[in-house]
């Protein structure tokens, strides 16, 4: 049981292949082989089809949603056409004001009005109430001018609001994807980054990667020695220790997370213990902050590090290290030059598993972290469940997917370029 549990080649050819082949027998064999391949594919097909519909299609749909601006474009079709030649800086033509009044007139009283208003509000704060207010007091379309809109609210005199309207009329929009990295397109077509105090997404991405890195590093430091301890123990002790790794692995995530909330609360067991031992006089804040999030995340992900390392360590023959030591290498050198390289593949797959899982985590930080400890997954859920900003959720999801893919590719590349010495 090492690499390739699933990917091992098909069974070795049987007896007849050893005979010298004549042409017809070869053709027969090829046909038999093709038949076997087709039967095998038929066995795989139901799951592939199922995953295509319920997994691949949803991912494609999500990526499409992040650039889909058709609904808004349709709702603001006339305005979009009227603004097409506008340069983004000069005064907005009256025709655009007239078109907007006509569009809003059609939207009034339909759910599409709030959809458009919300979409504009994601872009420029305050546009929601501006649009709804304007829709309530629409001037008669005949004499709809910029000045008439300006008398409803002077904000219509400013190009920023119109630039937002223009941005909302693209059928395929980069708005959400750019917003997911705190950027936006200016009317001239360039891309500008938001000032730091307005944008939070970059910080959240950095935070997500930082937390995932800290957790992964901690899991390596904690997991590698434990894996070694288990791999080198007698079978009896090894099974006891393995139970300690597998029990949390099999226990519900919610149980593990809530256990930590119970333990780490201000008047919880850990704090009572610390005070009882005289280590601290006042309770230490351990929950609803980064410390709590780290502890719980490490606890949840540690088995994912220990198990792959352990499985590789088990396949490493102790003779190698012994040989190195008997050839005069110090134990440290033997470890660094022989044992570590041999166990590196396990370490690498553990690191990949932990890091990728940590990137996508949101339940544990949501329950045990503070407002400043939430990771990207939390915001994806927030944009779906607490607002209807599907485009933003999709864009963030796409970026997270991209990050995962990059991590995975880097891993493949690193694993592919290093020689698989451990296969010995």
């Amino acid at each position: 049981m090492t690499a390739g549990a699933v990917t091992t080649a098909r069974a070795a050819p049987g007896g007849p292949a050893h005979r010298p082949l004549d042409a017809s027998l070869g053709a027969q064999l090829r046909r038999a082989d093709r038949g076997r391949q087709i039967r095998a594919l038929l066995l795989v097909a139901p799951l592939l089809l199922f995953l295509f519909v319920n997994f691949a299609l949803p991912l494609v749909l999500m990526l499409a949603k992040s650039i889909d601006g058709r609904e808004e474009a349709r709702a603001l079709a006339r305005t979009g056409a009227a603004l097409a030649s506008w340069d983004g800086r000069s005064a907005v033509p009256d025709a655009a004001a007239k078109a907007l009044v006509a569009d809003l007139g059609d939207l009034r009283g339909t759910p599409a009005l709030s959809m458009v208003a919300n979409r504009l509000n994601y872009d420029v704060n305050g546009m929601r109430s501006l649009v709804l207010k304007t829709a309530r007091r629409l001037p008669p379309s005949g004499d709809a001018t910029l000045a008439a809109l300006g008398s409803i609210d002077p904000l219509w005199q400013r190009p920023e609001q119109w630039a937002a309207v223009l941005r909302a009329t693209d059928r395929i929009t980069s708005f959400h994807v750019l917003a997911a990295v705190d950027a936006r397109r200016d009317p001239a077509g360039g891309i500008t980054m938001l000032p730091p105090q307005q944008g939070v997404m970059r910080e959240i991405f950095l935070r997500t990667f930082w937390i995932a890195s800290v957790v992964t590093l901690a899991c390596i430091v904690l997991g590698y020695p434990v894996a070694y301890l288990i791999a080198s123990a007698t079978p009896g002790w090894a099974s006891v220790m393995m139970m300690a790794v597998l029990l949390p692995f099999w226990t519900s995530l919610l149980v593990r997370t809530s256990a930590w909330v119970v333990l780490l609360q201000t008047n919880g067991i850990v704090n009572k213990g610390l005070q009882g031992l005289g280590l601290t006089s006042a309770p230490v804040p351990l929950v609803f902050n980064r410390t709590g999030a780290y502890i719980a995340l490490i606890h949840v992900l540690l088995p994912f590090m220990i198990l792959p390392i352990y499985s590789i360590m088990k396949s490493v023959k102790p003779d190698y290290v012994r040989a190195a030591v008997s050839l005069g290498a110090s134990p440290v050198t033997a470890f660094r030059r022989v044992y570590l390289p041999l166990t590196l593949p396990g370490l690498a797959s553990g690191t990949l598993l932990v890091f990728v899982s940590a990137l996508g985590f949101y339940i544990t930080p949501a329950l045990i972290g503070g407002a400043g400890d939430q990771m990207i997954g939390f915001f994806i859920a927030y944009y779906i469940n607490d607002t209807v900003n599907w485009g933003m959720a999709a864009a963030l999801g796409g970026l997270l997917l991209l990050s995962t893919a990059v991590v995975f590719l880097v891993y493949t590349w690193l694993a592919g370029s290093s020689s698989p010495a451990w296969r010995s």
Binding site: M1, V6, P46, L47, L61, T257, A259, N267, P303, A394
Partner: protein, 299 residues
């Protein structure tokens, strides 16, 4: 290669065989190192287990404070749990979704694992990568996509949607587990059966199925555990009618950590012990059977 490694890592999760060679740290001469390693290692293992074990006694606390010493032993929180319609409904929902998911995922996954074994190496590699990708892609992303897909069909806030989504998460684990068992299966046994005059179907039923059955059951248990444990999909796809146990706990922890939650947590720890026990038993049995069969095959 990377896929294979990942698969190996994941496969180990299900089929960890305990260390057999009794080599210990004696090859490294420093005693201090050994002592340090043991202290550190056992410390980490305690860190892994203790939080779960500490919660168990608290659920029997007579008082409502979640701290030691216990103010008395009582089953009142379990009575609370049993009396609460929302908790018992959550239990029912979780088992219902879990069992249907298990049946679906085990069927799809076992067939796929059998198919992959018979495919050429190149194809098998790519197909396994595709099949295993739901494990690699963060669940929250899959959940968002599935939400977009299901919403227009009214499958959000339905058992059907939740079960389908759970099957996506669970099936890859069945594939891994069954494929791992197939790895230990000697194809010569099927040929032997055929040479004794058994039809392919009989050979499969009488020879192969009994041998891979432990793997299939382990895979099924994995599938059940995945569904039973999932919260992310459930938060997106379950309405109040479909609320599962993890969602109920999530809401509970967010509102207030009550001893009732520790009672539910204790029941789930017990369930984990049972599932883990079955899987370990099957794994050992499977190895014994595999070895016995291999011995028989060599005659």
């Amino acid at each position: 290669m990377a896929g294979g490694l990942l698969v190996a890592g994941l496969a180990e999760l299900s089929a960890v065989s305990l260390a057999r060679n009794g080599r210990n740290a004696a090859s490294l001469p420093q005693r201090a190192f050994t002592i340090g390693l043991h202290t550190f290692g056992w410390g980490v293992l305690l860190f892994l287990v203790l939080p779960l074990l500490v919660v168990v006694p608290l659920s029997f606390n007579a008082g409502s404070f979640l701290t030691y010493p216990l103010s008395g032993i009582s089953g009142r929180w379990y009575a609370d749990l049993a009396a609460s319609p929302s908790w018992s409904k959550a239990f029912r929902n979780s088992f219902f979704v879990g069992i249907i998911t298990t049946v679906l995922a085990t069927g799809l996954g076992t067939a796929a694992a059998l198919g992959i074994k018979r495919l050429g190496a190149g194809r098998a590699k790519w197909i396994s990568l595709v099949i295993l990708s739901p494990i690699i892609v963060p669940v929250v992303i899959t959940a968002v996509g599935v939400y977009f897909l299901y919403a227009p069909f009214g499958l959000v806030s339905s058992f059907t949607g939740l079960i389908l989504a759970h099957t996506v998460l669970a099936a890859p684990f069945v594939v891994i587990t069954v494929a791992a068992t197939l790895d230990g299966f000697d194809p010569n046994l099927l040929r032997a059966a055929a040479s004794c005059g058994a039809s392919p179907f009989v050979a499969f039923r009488r020879v192969m199925l009994p041998l891979i059955m432990p793997g299939v059951v382990s895979g099924a248990i994995f599938a059940f555990a995945i569904s039973f444990d999932d919260i992310v999909m459930a938060l997106f796809l379950a309405g109040p009618e479909q609320r599962t146990l993890p969602v109920q706990m999530f809401n509970g922890v967010r509102e207030e950590i009550s001893p009732t939650i520790t009672a539910a947590a204790t029941l789930l720890v017990v369930l984990a012990v049972i599932l883990l026990g079955i899987v370990e038993y099957l794994r050992k049995r499977s190895r014994r059977l595999g070895i016995a069969a291999a011995d028989a095959g060599q005659h």
